[in-house]
Point group: D2
């Protein structure tokens, strides 16, 4: 039913596979077949490698089959530069393992795509990373003899958003890929999470590319290996929570609160259960009218958080992509 499809926009939404898995586990009460995950934590940096192995796992958690790595660093909002350096190194390490798994050689050509809108702070992550990565492709084209060893050809573009260019960003990227013929595309995008804790503290790397509907912007077409003809590694950071997620969380909290207090009152327990999903989403929609489902919730200090995390990603990419750039102190290689 079309109405219910539209109403799903008012449901809890997340672009993080890790959160989707947690949510599915909460509902099913346990292990999800076809999904494998491992978590390690060192000094405030928690890394989860998640493998959605088959269609069953994909269906269960609503994300594509593939490899996902999620780096969670609650302390990242404190502006601690030592911690930022450690996260950049951790990110670079995991990103290199993606390169290896995809058999990307040390000289393979890379196009970095920064999705999102420069002019909306929480959506500016992609363009900010693009501004900070080392771009080398033109040296290889114009003076191949003079490029020092340990570098590869890297190009970088920020294709803008549909409302500003009038063209789907995926169409622009396809055109640029056709012409510049990279061997790998790295797509960076701002995401939505379902939990405020993860906003601006989490980086997700995935080998599945960008799919329609993911990220903050209105992507209607994806950036995937099928579409572009080359592998696509997606890097995302949740920078917002949708307002609809907050409203749904409020309903849930109110329900559990009343259940806790009046657990013996079956009447109320029944009443609350009676409120079906359809009905709940109608209420969410009512709260959020008239502006609708696309309201973003963001912390006031979003500008600083985004800048810090864009630097981390740019530093990590520079170190992963160029052998001559040192992973021990990657932060110094960006401007």
């Amino acid at each position: 039913m079309k109405t219910d499809l539209d109403l799903q926009k008012y449901n809890v939404r997340t672009d993080l596979a890790l959160e989707a898995k947690e949510q599915a586990e909460g509902l099913s009460g346990g292990i999800i077949p076809g999904v494998h995950s491992e978590t390690t934590e060192v000094d405030g940096v928690k890394t989860t490698a998640l493998h959605i192995q088959n269609e069953q796992g994909s269906q269960a958690i609503g994300k594509m089959i593939g490899q996902y790595v999620t780096i969670e660093v609650p302390g990242l909002r404190n502006g601690d530069t030592m911690l930022q350096d450690r996260v950049a190194t951790e990110f670079a390490k995991h990103f290199e393992s993606f390169l290896q798994r995809l058999s990307i050689s040390k000289t393979a050509r890379v196009l970095i795509v920064g999705l999102g809108n420069w002019n909306v702070t929480p959506d500016a992550l992609g363009p900010l990373v693009v501004e900070n990565v080392m771009v080398t492709r033109h040296f290889f084209e114009l003076m191949p003899d003079q490029v020092a060893p340990g570098y590869r050809p890297v190009s970088a573009v920020a294709p803008g958003v549909l409302g500003t260019t009038g063209i789907e960003s995926s169409e622009i990227v396809q055109g640029i890929v056709d012409r510049s013929k990279p061997d790998l595309v790295i797509a960076i995008d701002a995401l939505a999470s379902r939990s405020l804790e993860r906003v601006n503290t989490t980086i997700q790397i995935a080998d599945i590319g960008i799919h329609p509907g993911s990220g903050i912007g209105n992507k209607r077409k994806g950036l995937t290996c099928e579409i572009l003809g080359v592998p696509v590694i997606a890097i995302g950071v949740p920078t917002v929570v949708y307002a609809s997620t907050i409203v749904n969380n409020t309903f849930d909290l109110m329900r559990s609160h009343m259940e806790a207090q009046k657990g013996d009152n079956n009447k109320i327990f029944g009443l609350l259960n009676e409120m079906e999903e359809h009905e709940r989403l109608l209420l969410v929609k009512e709260v959020l009218s008239p502006i609708g489902h696309d309201l973003l919730v963001t912390p006031k200090e979003v500008d600083q958080f985004i800048e810090d995390i864009a630097n981390i990603i740019a530093s990590g990419l520079n170190a992963s992509l160029h052998e001559a750039v040192d992973t021990d102190n990657v932060a110094a290689y960006t401007h």
Copy 2:
């Protein structure tokens, strides 16, 4: 009790006097003594002149004694340039009546202060207006003989925010006022409203200046006639709703929804009433943890809305402040 004071940050909050009045009327069930208002509506532009006449009125609605004009234009989010021109003209007309009421002469010197943070889109209203107004003071200082008639000395500054400068914006403005000696300060700030409808569709003009705690930023000191020694007209546009307002709205909607459906069930009715304000705010706090009370809710297209409304205000100010600038077509006078 300190805790309850802190919890008030998790309550519904609004910087619009009009909304505070509506809220007070909702609670009291009718007219508020000491508060007078008149509303007119012409072709989609609704203007309310609100006069808080005395301490009683001020207490009742929680806003300062003074004159407030609120211009509401729901169509403003559609990018209709004809409508924008009409709103600029309407704004200029009302702003001029503030100048007259404050006996500001046609040659009086004016300082325009754009409060807020350049780098956070919904907080960039003030700096954007400052960038677009005509600045003339230096011509009067450097070549007074050559200034055409019909202009006055206007200066404009964007003092930044505490987190970026380390200094309260009010201290910076005081220092600039001391040195440049304007006869009037106009302070522009991004506000929070309690209703999503009013976000980026509403302009408030008030003769009360800027008070601590108002606006999106962390103002801890005000910009008022008492502090600066000259009259201060405040211009504000709600560009966000606080996430706490959305959560409170959700609780209210859920309550009324359950009451409507189960109105005969006294048990539940009682249960819902039992949830006291203190308890409710604790739940709001729980929903919004760990980032806290300062989460902003903003539409995704905030950049375009803010730019449009900053142009309207700059155009209106240029026409109001300089006789030589024509109110019939104010839009052309900004860049």
Copy 3:
């Protein structure tokens, strides 16, 4: 000889066909076969239509065969908004005649390309125009039934510069043209002139597209009908003079100064003539070492000039491209 080719970078350079013609006339002492021009002047707006009719004319002045219109407005640096509106209208009128000559229908799809570097003020003209034009293509794609009559599909991109993206801007544009299939490309670029008078006061429209080496940036490939497969109208504004032009001008002035004063002294006259072009360019190179030939001369107030002229072009384009936008007051249609 390679050396002499390189030395030409140190010669007087202009991207304006009008200046190239003036220069050729100065050398030849009169009319240039194959080049036709007509000038009109109304209230401080001087318009020259220049037609390079054949290969002979093209060789003589060193510009491509085609139609050029140059609008010169010395008063444009004064910030006079009435004059700006008149120039926008004049620009729109001439631009429409280009559309007619190229048989571009009222519904033909247009891609606007803003060449240049956002982060270097005199090179930011193209991106600034792109930011200010009305973009409509996505409405035609997503909701064709709801687009009001009088509009056409317009898209707009700023492809960045080689040093930032690692990819030639012409390659990026080719890719976008392949995918989005416009019927016409409009390319906007910042130019170099040979005279300071024309900096930020002149607009050139030409039907020849963008050729390698033109404009401030390092374009190595062009944007032409041959390359893109659709007509390309180029719009350019000189925003700089090359430092080498200034140095050459200085040599010329010194020579004519000495000749004027000591015209009877044949010895000196001979000496000055003896300084051949090759020798002169070596001196220019010496003056400009070590940074080389790419030094830009720009007025300090370049930011305001560029912003004004970008608004004029955006307003004029909006009026020319969309019948529903009124040429009588085009300035109001941009943000």
Copy 4:
């Protein structure tokens, strides 16, 4: 004579004391009484400590009595991050010696002032440094108990330029100093040099503050200890050469070229000497008309150079001002 005063704007101009000394030495043919200097060079970083000891020295080279340190790094335009780190450390070391000479204690309060215009790339140095330094004053004001040891209160403002605010930047800074009461002001400004080699490769530190007429902008009042009541350390980087300097250089080169070639021809030697300074400046003025004396010459890649050098200065300041920030790796402490 007024005319000659005005003509001086068309002469060679430099804001670097080192260049003024070199020029004076060239004219006098040797040592300048009252001026002492020492130069050291290590691995491509050349540092000159210049002491103008008395009025005689000040008159001779046209700069104020005081201490100047100039760090010259020709390789700085190559984007070498290792070299940038070394320069930041060198800068920090010299800056600390200024703090010691002025007896600025480790807890003294500091205000950093970034002069110049955000929107004009070569004039944006000051605002860029301000954006990158650590600001801590508000923590000391709001939560003094929680500030870690090893930090001092630092605030930072970018007061804008006269053409944008209508107020002299020195008036704005005076007002802010009056209110925020720092013990030291550090003023950062973009300068003009007389040599292209030094553009974007040189940093000058001086204990004399900012004087009218220095820097790229139109400062008409200074920022000095006399005016502000606290010591002022000025940090400057030449980011442009004035066009008038280039033209004068061209005249000089032509003269020496002709003398070299025709040294035996007394007639010409005489002729060239006859061209007096007044006459020469009139010719310079003629070359630069109609835009006048304020034309800036800047390399095309100015944006990247400025960003790199702003990071170096911000890193160096962070390390010098806060004991807890390490001079061994200062680059990591800025964002």
